[in-house]
Symmetry: C2
Amino acid sequence: MSVPASAIRALDLEHFLPYRLSVLSNTVSTALAGAYARRFGLSIPQWRVIAVLARTPGLSAAAVAERTAMDKVAVSRAVAGLARSGRVRRALARSDRRRSVLTLTARGREVYTRIVPYALEYERRLLAELAPSEQSFFAAVLTRLQRRAVLLGPAGAARV
Amino acid sequence: MSVPASAIRALDLEHFLPYRLSVLSNTVSTALAGAYARRFGLSIPQWRVIAVLARTPGLSAAAVAERTAMDKVAVSRAVAGLARSGRVRRALARSDRRRSVLTLTARGREVYTRIVPYALEYERRLLAELAPSEQSFFAAVLTRLQRRAVLLGPAGAARV
DNA sequence: CCGGGTTAGTTACAATTGTAACTATAATCG
DNA sequence: CGATTATAGTTACAATTGTAACTAACCCGG
């Protein structure tokens, strides 16, 4: 009853987790990006920067990068755009003049207070699909998978 | 005990579902993309095309687009690359000479049989984080959220 | 059977994103 | 100190991706 060595398991894209994650993430991000752009003239990277600066003012660009899972170039570009539109203020740290000190301006804070209800409402509508207990389970699973994915790192980098 | 009308709920990026989905999807995709590129010289779009053609030969480009959640331009580019490297054969449908008939070549099938074990192994390692019952629950949740996200469409397009 | 509209796919161009090199400042160590 | 190395951030360039225009083939009503 053995299977020939050449037999391989089938792989249907629609059941393949990485594919499904990518499609879902894309659907959600595209929807939000459109809304952010239309209503607030913000890109997703810019929205992320605003979101962290609203909660933690005075961060450096590197610190923002850490908390937004963006690289420093993406942060630099997003901040440049936000500074141009008067939503973020850039200063230099007195103790280390390489480091920037980023804060939202009044206009930046206003964008934040206007966008948050939209963002949360979208999330609420999406999660309305799930019962409350399912929501917390799903959130926990995401945390675990994220940790695991980081541990796995560059897919079977050396092994397999 | 009422909250002032101006109070807004906080939004921490790290608890915001769209952000978390994006980060997880990105981590996973980056890992796989690196492995596909290094080991097989394939991009993710190319891998997707190979995956569906292996299971369903003879599809048109539009049909491939449907099943890979890619747009027709992305498919066109992926197929062009695969044709160049001799992994996909393009023919024209006799009944409709606009439509292409795409099939894997022997080399294309070989790539598929070599890449599938890697892809499934990566998925297995990721899902090893979850108990079997959690895995099926998670898969079901993804299906439901995907459906819901498509229904919601362009984030609160007109409403809110 | 022929003009208007439609569909499949490609090509051209614009915008975004990633990678690498660079500038300025700071830290380390002989 | 002064030379070397490291870090923060920007700029320049390459690659990817998205958008729009285009070509070729088909379809359909008159």
